[in-house]
Subunit: 354 residues, 2 copies
């Protein structure tokens, strides 16, 4: 992204911000910098750009003055966050999918017949080019097969063990280190102001729930995801058990994310954060369409140096994982959402950036 394009982005962000939040102008300029020096900055990893001001202003407008028309009572404060690409790194593969690929090897030892069956044969071949060509249906079958047949406790224990040893190939760190520090600050800031924070993920809720409390401070019951059913039955000594099945009951892709969020929580988020056209468009639309002051934000991955750069919005490379289309970008600008530029709006990306 060139400096010019970046300048253009910032101008559009300011316009979007002004349209979205009636009282935002009061927070711009020197006063905000002064206020932040005086008080502790709740978002120290954010540059002083419109995205940050938009968050601060949203919290002020909805939690500051109980007599204000924009005030939201504590019990009704709901903030929703996508996970992959919004709270942590999703490239080059969704972390959950790396887990599933690793599990194919484990399963093949238990069920040797898998070695001759596609798409498992391809996964086991280690042929990266062939792997990249697997269809969505293949990927889907891999997830359902590798995440079923276990009790819910055995699955959680397996994910936990895997997360303790698996390392991201670029940073050589546990995947749970690859959380965006600026977003962790947003989660804390929202909760400190009485918001309940939720994850709504296109991935498996059952996977995210294993670490969501420890890593994000979000308890399992506030994680909504794509879900395989857990079948009730009895084990040894008639012990009751729940065992994951190789099918889907809730599909959080596309509009499914807000449909299932409503289904399970009966709530419209006051604030919604996402990054992808395939997953986050409808829930951000629905959050923004509610009464009062609303906040919809999209993370744009435009920082190839510190993380990754992909779009295809704003001319960034089009990749298979986490697509952010130009149409979604345009909708965001038109509808008063914020687009967070990782390059321009975030002082640092990870806690280990120092």
């Amino acid at each position: 992204m060139s400096t010019n394009a970046s300048d253009g982005l910032n101008r559009r962000l300011v316009l979007g911000a002004l349209g979205a939040l009636p009282t935002l102008p009061a927070l711009f300029g020197a006063t905000i910098a002064e206020a932040q020096t005086a008080a502790a900055d709740p978002l120290p990893s954010w540059n002083n750009t419109p995205a940050k001001f938009g968050i601060l202003e949203f919290i002020r407008a909805t939690t500051g003055d109980p007599s204000s028309a924009t005030f939201v009572p504590p019990g009704e404060r709901i903030a929703e966050f996508d996970q992959d690409g919004t709270l942590w790194v999703e490239h080059p593969l969704y972390t959950q999918f790396v887990y599933c690929l690793d599990r194919v090897g484990v399963l093949a030892k238990e069920q040797p017949a898998l070695k001759d069956r596609e798409p498992f044969k391809t996964v086991l071949s280690g042929d990266a080019a062939a792997l990249a060509k697997l269809s969505d249906r293949d990927l889907f079958e891999i997830v359902l097969t590798t995440q079923s047949g276990m009790t819910v406790q055995a699955f959680a224990a397996d994910v936990k063990t895997w997360l303790a040893t698996a390392r991201d190939p670029r940073w050589k760190r546990p995947y749970t280190d690859l959380i965006y520090q600026p977003m962790l600050e947003v989660l804390h800031y929202f909760r400190a102001n009485g918001y309940q924070t939720f994850i709504a993920t296109g991935g498996s809720g059952s996977f995210v729930r294993v670490y969501s409390e420890q890593v994000y401070g979000i308890p399992p019951q506030q994680v909504s995801g794509t879900e395989q059913p857990a079948k009730y039955g009895y084990g040894k000594d008639q012990t009751p058990m729940l065992t994951y099945e190789p099918k889907l009951v809730l599909d959080n892709l596309g509009a499914g994310k807000i449909e299932n969020f409503w289904l399970t929580y009966g709530r419209r988020p006051n604030a919604s954060f996402g990054n992808s056209s395939s997953d986050d468009q409808q829930i951000l639309e629905y959050a923004k369409a509610g009464a009062g002051v609303r906040l919809s934000m999209l993370v744009l991955h435009d920082d190839a140096k510190r993380e990754y750069a992909y779009g295809p919005a704003q001319g960034l490379p089009d990749t298979k994982v986490g697509t952010f289309s130009q149409a979604l970008y345009d909708e965001a600008m038109k509808s008063g959402w914020f687009v967070i530029s990782m390059k321009n709006d975030w002082k640092r990306i990870f806690a280990f950036d120092g």
Copy 2:
């Protein structure tokens, strides 16, 4: 229920209680009565019987002493409650079903063709005998038809309006007055001790969420129910909207209640309250099977005078709504669950009992 049968029940309850809670004996006898006189009684509508002591002891064991092996950290305290027959009256018809029957009349005005279509024709005839003969499939169709085609907001508003005017035929009161006061005290007592309280209902979560916060202090996001999908779409001016569809996506009957509880919250309840063989058996089993001190309780409707008497457990009449089988009763006794006798364990049933 004869006095003898009632005495037998109490003896079995004591045995069940002793088996369930290792430290229970310390709470029996004069000391508990003294302690309750000294401190404010958190369960004033309960008689001083084993059921009450079981609740008090469960809270003491799981929240009292952080160094105890039975202590549960605050973030992990989950209590689950069935609604119909456990938190409020379910006879002669589930309240939600009364709403659906009333809505048939409203719908027939909007869609005159319904008047000639079964089972709607029977409902509109007002013939109580014919109505009582409708099959489960008929009832199911009535619920799906009357609860769909509306946006989620329009549905909630309609339920709210209905609840404000509808009256229970026996007590001539709003249905939301027919909450069991002893159970309200349990909800408050659990929350005061750091438990998150959840409803898991065989009825529609979307229905219960309309009043759950106001009536039970349980927010919508902690209500899990049988669910019709809410389809995403756009209304006038491209306004995003969610509209209920006439199908099922989550079915909370039988084992479905714990399967869906896990699916949406990823939690095993520490305590579980129910009353019916068709709905509550598996979730009570699963709650009780967890590690540490667990509490599973069943409400037995054995008070024909103050509420209703039905079973068929303990020789009470077998009715279509809210069946509590003798097999479930026997399982409760064998497994260290508590059976709450409304007649013997509850000092009063409703707040308006004075």
